[in-house]
């Protein structure tokens, strides 16, 4: 028998983080818990499961709300760290 899928595990309602990347110029991170490091070349964000690290040039956090933020700039690398 199939295990019923919880609604909260799907899409935007998921408890997991969700990252949407537009080219290498913009990334929208939903479900972030805070900023660990913020610099011109590095932005490190803590999500519910792991830490996401954006490396690039001229990185700027365009806006930030309780559970989402938008990183813009020239993104060269995205790393997922435990």
């Amino acid at each position: 028998m199939r295990k019923p899928v919880k609604l909260s595990e799907l899409g935007a309602l998921s408890a997991k983080s969700r990252i949407e990347i537009c080219g290498n110029r913009e990334a929208v991170i939903e479900g972030c818990c805070g900023i660990l490091e913020y610099g011109d070349g590095v932005v490190r964000i803590r999500t519910q499961e792991r830490i996401v690290r954006f490396t690039g040039r001229g990185l700027v956090i365009r806006c930030m709300t309780e559970d989402a933020l938008v990183v813009t700039g020239y993104i060269l690398q995205i790393e997922f760290m435990e």
């Binding site: 818990c33 805070g34 900023i35 660990l36 490091e37 913020y38 610099g39 011109d40 700027v60 956090i61 365009r62 806006c63 930030m64 709300t65 309780e66 559970d67 933020l69």
Partner: protein, 392 residues
């Protein structure tokens, strides 16, 4: 994006710097406390923007992150309004502007007449004014149908008029009447007689029996075309005789030209008076008073238009020129020339466009008081004149 910027400007926002401590921790704390930040910068120049009313709640987050906040810039409508709070005059001026705009918009300031060709706009404007539609009239007091009806009664040359009120402008769209052509009464019976004495040059009979032929000399009142038409069987019928009979006629015209006459000669002294006409108020722009004595006045009104719409704004200018009455004496050639002009004018009035002058013989009599010129004119004109026969 524009709507977002506009909303931020309307609500007002603060751009601040984050000094010392950990800006990252401060941003995280702000996010957790529900504050929405944007344009966040990093490094030594760390800072962000926040809605004006949320700024004071950020202090606690800054304390927890070991930071200090410093306002760099306050932007938006609330701050702009706060700056003008102490200037009561500005608010009073704004209120006066609103009141003035509202009160002016309840009146009609421009009356424009369109569609007229032969009827002068001034005549229609005066008719409109007497019907109650004039610049400065309260818009609510104008009843377009009533104005239309009254103008139509005053100006019979107008076939149709429509008053269109658009904001503070009233447009009077006009259509002029077309003159009814003269329709000759073809049912009546008439002869054609000679209107003047002369010699017939050409004859064109449209209806009737001709009684004269080309080259005949006729006297005034002589029968030229008979209304009785005889057919081939010997029967006769009465018709409406009609013809064009061109004859050579002679006329005499006498004109008198005095050699001495009084004329107004400008002395060269002028005075200009200017008025600014704004919303029917006449504001003098010059201190020049109305000159006394012998002056001639020329008036000119210039109205300001915007995209073809006349505005209730213009300049009224009076140019006063001083004149002196002076007696002048005409030379013989000037008197002859003047006499010739007067003879032409009189002959044109006599012929009424139905003929032309083919020759003239002038006789001059020079007297003390001037020149008397007698002209014997030889004309070619249509002498056909319908004479109705009344049958009981």
């Amino acid at each position: 994006m524009i709507s977002l910027r506009l909303t931020r400007w309307l609500l007002g926002y603060v751009r601040f710097s984050v000094l010392g401590g950990s800006p990252e921790r401060f941003y995280t704390n702000c996010a957790h406390s529900g504050a929405y930040l944007w344009d966040m910068t990093s490094g030594g120049n760390a800072g962000a923007c926040v809605a004006a009313r949320r700024y004071r709640f950020l202090r606690r987050n800054a304390r927890r992150a070991g930071c200090r906040l410093r306002v760099r810039e306050r932007t938006g409508l609330p701050f702009s309004l706060r700056r003008t709070k102490s200037h009561a005059g500005l608010w009073a001026g704004f209120a006066a502007f609103l009141v003035l705009s509202f009160s002016l918009s309840t009146h009609i300031w421009c009356v424009q007449v369109t569609g007229n060709k032969d009827v002068p706009a001034g005549k229609i404007e005066s008719a409109l004014a007497s019907a109650g539609l004039v610049s400065g009239t309260l818009r609510s007091s104008v009843n377009p149908q009533e104005v239309e009806r009254r103008v139509m009664l005053q100006c019979p040359e107008i076939r149709w008029i429509s008053i269109n009120l658009r904001g503070s402008m009233a447009e009077a769209a006009v259509r002029e009447t077309t003159e009814k052509p003269n329709i000759s009464d073809q049912k009546s019976v008439c002869n054609v007689i000679a209107a003047r004495t002369g010699q017939i040059l050409s004859l064109e009979v449209f209806a009737g029996t001709p009684e004269v032929k080309k080259g005949d000399a006729v006297v005034e009142g002589q029968l030229l075309v008979n209304a009785v038409v005889e057919d081939q069987t010997g029967g006769s019928t009465m018709t409406h005789a009609s013809a064009e009979i061109i004859a050579e006629t002679s006329r005499e015209v006498t004109v008198k030209v005095p050699l001495h006459k009084q004329v107004d000669v400008p002395t060269g002294k002028t005075a200009v008076r200017r008025n600014l006409d704004i919303f029917r108020a006449h504001i003098p722009l010059t201190l020049q008073r109305k000159p006394q004595g012998s002056w001639r006045c020329e008036c000119e009104r210039t109205t300001v238009s915007l995209f073809g719409t006349p505005l209730p704004l213009g300049i009224y200018m009076e140019t006063w020129k001083e004149v002196r009455s002076q007696e002048i004496t005409l030379t013989k050639s000037e008197a002859r020339s003047l006499a010739g002009q007067q003879i032409k004018k009189q002959s044109d009035a006599l012929l009424k466009g139905l003929g032309r002058v083919t020759g003239q013989k002038l006789t001059e009599h020079w007297g003390k008081d001037g020149l008397t010129c007698e002209a014997k004119l030889t004309c070619e004109e249509n002498i056909a004149k319908e004479s109705e026969i009344f049958i009981k």
